[in-house]
């Protein structure tokens, strides 16, 4: 006789008066494959946990963003935000698509150069630029986005020493109607600091002001904030022409577009609330086109969006290590991927899904990582089906920041795999091993 399919016995308390607000689907979403490759095969080949990136999704997302802006504005250029994900293979895909590089450190600058990016197609942002970094940027004809006056004077001094002209832009912070205002980066618009900096730069023989840059924040949920920012930069752009009879080359609206992840504490899921590229494009380009800038002098529009461009393309595949029942009767799982690999789990309720059909019986579950630390909570509460030890799970939308901000802690960081357009897999960052660490350490006792 054929045996029946087993499902563990469960009893769950009914909490009257707390119906689901959204009538969320009863059927559990399953992610059994990525770009046609089975999760089980990927994990058998590359181990667990493992990050997997889809080249197809990256290129599709890029095309969507490009179309949204290029159909509305004549001159658009994307610059890939290295800090969001600076794995060589990922950066190369964006560069192949036509992105310039947006870097925030000497390390990232050198990484971009090593990938063959022309120095003149690098935007150098960030508050930390040493004299050596500035020298590198000037020598390579990069566009240096000045963050503060000390940097401005260091740059003047460095350019003098090199007897070269530096191409610069200034970063401007402004009130775009969203809070908190990011006033720690750049020069303030409202109090006139930005205008003072512009005047100082225009007087410097060895600086060529070519652009204006702002980055109003991160995970911005309203396109209208970008419209305010674009209008304010357009005002400066026109004011510079009025005073100096000189048109700058570009306006850079930075990044900060929201990905479809759901922020902790959000009332609705990110998939429902997150603006589309079209929403952002409509707000930004309308503001520029309807500004006082004559159409024949419209600046090149730079966008440095990172998160919205890569988050959807990254997955983390993980294995269930244990089922545990907490003291209060709540179910919990331990998986083999911790918060050290998932920096974004601190602010997102990441989507976690089984990789195969499960029982239809779900209950509130806490999902813990494997670190021997109390903070290692991937999801505090998620309605989840019964999962067995060894079952494989998929965490979606982890492409941004996790593989640049991850920490090595008590175990090795895992393989990172790319699925190319032909469905072939490539390890794009190898799993660490003991030798990785031994090679960096020196023990005076031996």
């Amino acid at each position: 006789m054929e045996k029946l399919i087993y499902e563990k016995p469960v009893i769950s308390k009914i909490n009257a008066g707390m119906p689901s607000k959204f009538g969320l689907p009863v059927k559990q979403k399953i992610i059994s494959e990525i770009d046609g490759l089975a999760i089980s095969d990927l994990m058998e080949k590359f181990g667990s946990p493992v990050f997997v990136f889809s080249e197809k999704t990256i290129r599709e997302t890029y095309s969507e963003a490009k179309r949204a802006f290029e159909t509305r504005y004549p001159k658009v250029q994307f610059a890939w935000s290295y800090k969001t994900n600076y794995l060589d293979a990922i950066c190369s895909i964006f560069h192949e698509e036509g992105s310039w590089a947006e870097v925030v450190s000497g390390f990232e600058f050198n990484k971009a150069l090593s990938l063959g990016v022309n120095g003149s197609q690098i935007l150098f942002n960030g508050p930390e630029k040493s004299e050596a970094d500035l020298t590198l940027a000037i020598e390579n004809n990069a566009s240096i986005h000045i963050d503060h006056f000390d940097e401005l004077y260091l740059l003047i001094e460095t350019a003098r020493k090199l007897n070269k002209k530096a191409r610069v832009s200034i970063r401007i912070n402004l009130d775009a109607g969203i809070y908190p205002i990011w006033d720690r980066f750049g020069f303030n618009y409202e109090n006139g600091e930005a205008w003072n900096a512009i005047n100082r730069i225009m007087l410097a023989d060895n600086l060529e002001l070519i652009g204006l840059h702002t980055h109003i924040g991160t995970y911005i949920m309203v396109g209208s904030a970008y419209a305010i920012a674009a209008s304010k930069l357009a005002n400066l752009y026109v004011a510079i022409h009025r005073k100096f009879d000189y048109w700058l080359k570009y306006i850079d609206l930075g990044g900060g577009f929201a990905s479809k992840n759901t922020l902790k504490g959000a009332y609705m899921p990110g998939t429902e609330t997150c603006p589309s590229f079209d929403d952002y494009a409509e707000a930004i380009t309308n503001a520029l086109i309807s500004s006082e800038i004559p159409h024949e002098n419209l600046p090149l529009l730079f966008l440095e969006t990172g998160r919205a461009m890569i988050d959807d393309a990254g997955y983390l595949l993980t294995t269930t290590l244990a089922n545990k029942r907490l003291n209060n009767g709540k179910n919990s799982l331990v998986i083999d991927a911790g918060v050290n690999l998932l920096f974004t789990s601190f602010w997102y309720n990441l989507g976690i899904f089984p990789s195969k059909e499960t029982s239809s019986f779900t209950e509130e579950t806490t999902i813990y990582g494997p670190l021997c630390m109390n903070i290692d909570v991937i999801r505090d509460t998620i309605v989840f089906p019964q999962i067995k030890v060894g079952d494989q799970l998929v965490i979606e939308r982890v492409g941004a920041y996790n593989v640049s901000q991850w920490m090595q802690f008590i175990n090795y960081r895992p393989n990172v795999v790319l699925i190319d357009l032909e469905g072939k897999t490539h390890i794009i960052r190898k799993r660490e091993n003991l030798e990785t660490f031994k090679s960096l350490e020196f023990n005076p006792k031996l």
């Binding site: 029946l4 499902e7 563990k8 016995p9 009893i11 009914i14 009257a16």
Partner: protein, 87 residues
């Protein structure tokens, strides 16, 4: 293991505890197990029946069974004075 007198269990897996006022849902297999417990079957007897009918290893079932019993106790559905009583 004794199911307390105040517990009422319907055939579709709905459980009501008239002492605490709490109500619960059982999944189908949980309903099967609680019925066997109500019939005062011992763990070994339950295990034998389950292993005979379901595609499951004895160790996995043992672990799940004890977890289930701990939940029943937590919800005051069964009485169990001695935590080592399950055997």
């Amino acid at each position: 293991m004794i199911i307390t007198e105040e517990i009422k269990i319907s055939d579709n897996g709905f459980v009501f505890n008239s002492r605490t006022g709490d109500s619960f849902n059982l999944n189908p297999f949980g309903l099967n197990i609680i019925k066997l417990i109500a019939e005062k079957k011992e763990f070994e007897q339950i295990k034998e029946k389950v292993l005979d009918e379901y595609d499951i290893s004895d160790l996995t079932f043992e672990k799940d069974f004890y977890e289930f019993c701990a939940l029943l106790k937590h919800h005051q559905i069964i009485l169990q004075d001695n935590p080592l009583e399950f055997k």
